[in-house]
């Protein structure tokens, strides 16, 4: 149940019945501290999120509870608002910064406890392309969604994707491109996986401003993400397919 007044206002932006049910479920405990964390994250208050997360952990909330009921629950509303063009990239960036401030307290605990991610993803912007903002948003949302993500950065050669998959035993590769000149390098990378005899071992998803489902199909990708929220959804579907 949502008790926090500001959060109640934010929840009004969630209009699809299935999403209302899902996100309301994330706040089912009715814990005011978790709702305060979620609200502070949605409104991009990074210092506030950091201190609230610290306070929660000091008051014996588990790292998993703070992550799920505070940070991820807040990010779920950010994702919906971003997808529906209620907010744009700057507003998502300040929420991402707030998420990072909270994760700085949580990650060491999760890591020490050996909590397993739901999947490992290799992410990179394709060769010849130096744009990374969309990729970075996807990475932030994937990490918030429980994935372990290895970021190869920009201008990533096909061999670098292959090497990273082998090194980290990753099941998913995510490629981003912003330029119409570099989009074909998604296909080149997929071909490189085929030539290396690794195409069956890895699911490949693609995205980026000029990329479309049609283009993704032509390149032979397994999934296309229209935005950062969709990216997480597609990654989860690929994990299910894989299993």
């Amino acid at each position: 149940m949502i008790k926090h007044d500001g959060l109640k206002e934010e929840f009004k932006y969630v209009t699809k019945p299935d999403e209302q049910e899902h996100i309301a479920g994330l706040f089912a405990s009715g814990d005011m501290l978790m709702q305060e964390i979620a609200y502070s994250l949605i409104t991009g208050q990074n210092i506030e999120v950091g201190s609230l997360v610290k306070k929660a952990l000091e008051n014996d909330y588990s790292a998993n509870i703070v992550l799920d009921d505070g940070l991820i629950a807040g990010m779920a509303i950010v994702g919906v608002k971003f997808r529906d063009n209620i907010i744009f990239v700057p507003e998502v960036l300040i929420s991402a910064r707030a998420m990072k401030a909270g994760m700085e307290h949580i990650e060491p605990i999760l890591s020490a406890a050996g909590v397993k991610p739901i999947g490992t993803v290799i992410m990179g912007t394709v060769k010849g392309d130096l744009h990374d903002i969309g990729k970075n948003l996807c990475i932030m949302m994937l990490r918030g969604g429980g994935f372990l993500v290895h970021d190869l950065g920009v201008d990533t050669k096909p061999d670098d994707f292959i090497d990273a998959v082998m090194e980290h035993d990753a099941a998913i590769v995510g490629m981003s491109a912003l330029l119409t000149t570099t989009m074909p390098n998604m296909g080149t990378t997929i071909e490189a996986f085929e030539e290396a005899g690794m195409r069956e071992e890895v699911k490949i998803m693609v995205g980026g401003a000029p990329v479309t489902q049609e283009f993704a199909d032509e390149m032979g990708a397994d999934a296309y993400g229209d935005n950062a929220v969709d990216c997480v959804q597609k990654a989860k579907e690929l994990v299910i397919t894989e299993n």
Binding site: G44, N85, I87, F88, V89, P90, E91, L93, I94, R97, G128, D129, L130, H131, D132, I133, N136, G153, V154, D155, L179, T180, T181, T182, M183, P184, A209, P210, V211, T212, E214, F215, E218
Partner: protein
């Protein structure tokens, strides 16, 4: 209005369309790159050398008129020259990819860092463009419209501050963001005026406050007034270029005073025309990654028809084309315009 009895030169056709005057047919224009690998090979002027050498640059630019039959020509690839001259790290790439600014390693962090280097206009990469325009002017002798290009302050800010830091700054400190944009506008004017002095008939001003990144309110809060000032400062017709979804900010763009807005295929021609009304002319918006890059001349033709039927005044690819685009698809653009005029007015 279209008056087929007029007998206009390519330059007159472009300038008339930008001014809202009668034309004999809608001009085919190129506010953004239409050079391809094939054309580079044809005139032996490959990227990245053609981006940095005035003679090669002009040779490649001329193909827009001589080989493709467009009504305008423009030096390519000219969205990074001023950033190079400012000291940004560059990745010049190779023949089949556009040069880029390494925005991940920005050169400035705050307003106090902004300094226009002495000799900015004399920098090798800026000279390549101004000299190229001068060569083109002598070559086409007033028959073909020459489009220069000077980056708007919003895009320059991406280059010098980095996209992510700049967008964060826009929320953390809006007043400093605005002051930064006003300061960067001086660079836009400086390089733009140098191109006018060299012979540019029109200037394209890319300023990527796109709906893919920021809200429509950003255009009103940060850019509208600055764009209105640019119209005062640069006394040639200006074409604003913003990629991506922009229909929500087109009513504001129509108040900028710019001659035209170059729009993306993420906006349909009809919704774009409705959004701008009589406030500004539209240039566009043939899709690049699918239609021009991978479909057929017939598909190109249908998309040109759709834009013309909606009333788009100047036809052009939506943005810089993939460098491996087939020439036959580019040739289909002027061909389709001629066919459309013939069907509509001469049958």
């Amino acid at each position: 209005m279209i008056n087929t009895a007029l007998n206009l030169t390519k330059k007159q056709r472009v300038l008339n369309a930008l001014a809202g005057k009668d034309v004999d047919r809608p001009p085919v224009s190129n506010p953004t790159n239409v050079a391809t690998v094939e054309l580079m090979d044809y005139v032996d002027a490959p990227f990245p050398e053609a981006c940095r050498n005035a003679e090669l640059n002009a040779k490649l630019a001329l193909t827009g008129h001589s080989e493709l039959g467009f009504d305008s020509i423009a030096p390519y690839f000219s969205i990074i020259q001023e950033s190079s001259a400012l000291g940004c790290e560059m990745q010049w790439e190779q023949k089949d990819n556009w040069p880029t600014v390494r925005m991940g390693n920005p050169i400035w962090k705050s307003k106090s860092d902004i300094k226009i280097p002495s000799g900015f206009l004399e920098h090798k990469d800026n000279i390549a463009i101004t000299r190229s325009i001068n060569i083109l002017k002598n070559e086409v002798k007033g028959q073909v419209a020459i489009l220069g290009k000077t980056m708007g302050p919003w895009t320059l800010a991406y280059h010098v501050f980095g996209v992510e830091p700049f967008l964060l700054m826009s929320i953390d400190n809006p007043s400093e963001t605005l002051e930064i944009l006003k300061k960067l506008k001086e660079i836009t004017v400086l390089f733009g005026q140098a191109q006018i002095d060299s012979g540019a008939d029109v200037l394209v001003v890319p300023d990527h406050a796109t709906g893919d990144l920021v809200s429509a309110r950003y255009y009103d809060d940060f850019l509208l007034e600055i764009h209105q000032e640019l119209v005062e400062d640069l006394q040639v017709p200006l074409i604003l270029h913003i990629c991506g979804r922009t229909v929500d900010r087109m009513p504001s763009i129509a108040k900028s005073g710019m001659a035209a807005f170059h729009f993306d295929s993420k906006n349909t021609p009809s919704e774009a025309m409705e959004a701008v009304g009589d406030g500004i002319r539209l240039v566009g918006n043939i899709n690049n990654p699918e239609t021009l890059y991978s479909k057929s001349p017939e598909d190109v033709k249908q998309e040109v028809y759709r834009a013309l039927d909606a009333g788009v005044q100047l036809i052009a690819p939506e943005c810089a084309i993939p460098l491996k685009t087939k020439i036959e698809n580019l040739l289909a653009i002027p061909s389709a315009v001629n066919q459309w005029v013939s069907n509509k007015f001469q049958s």
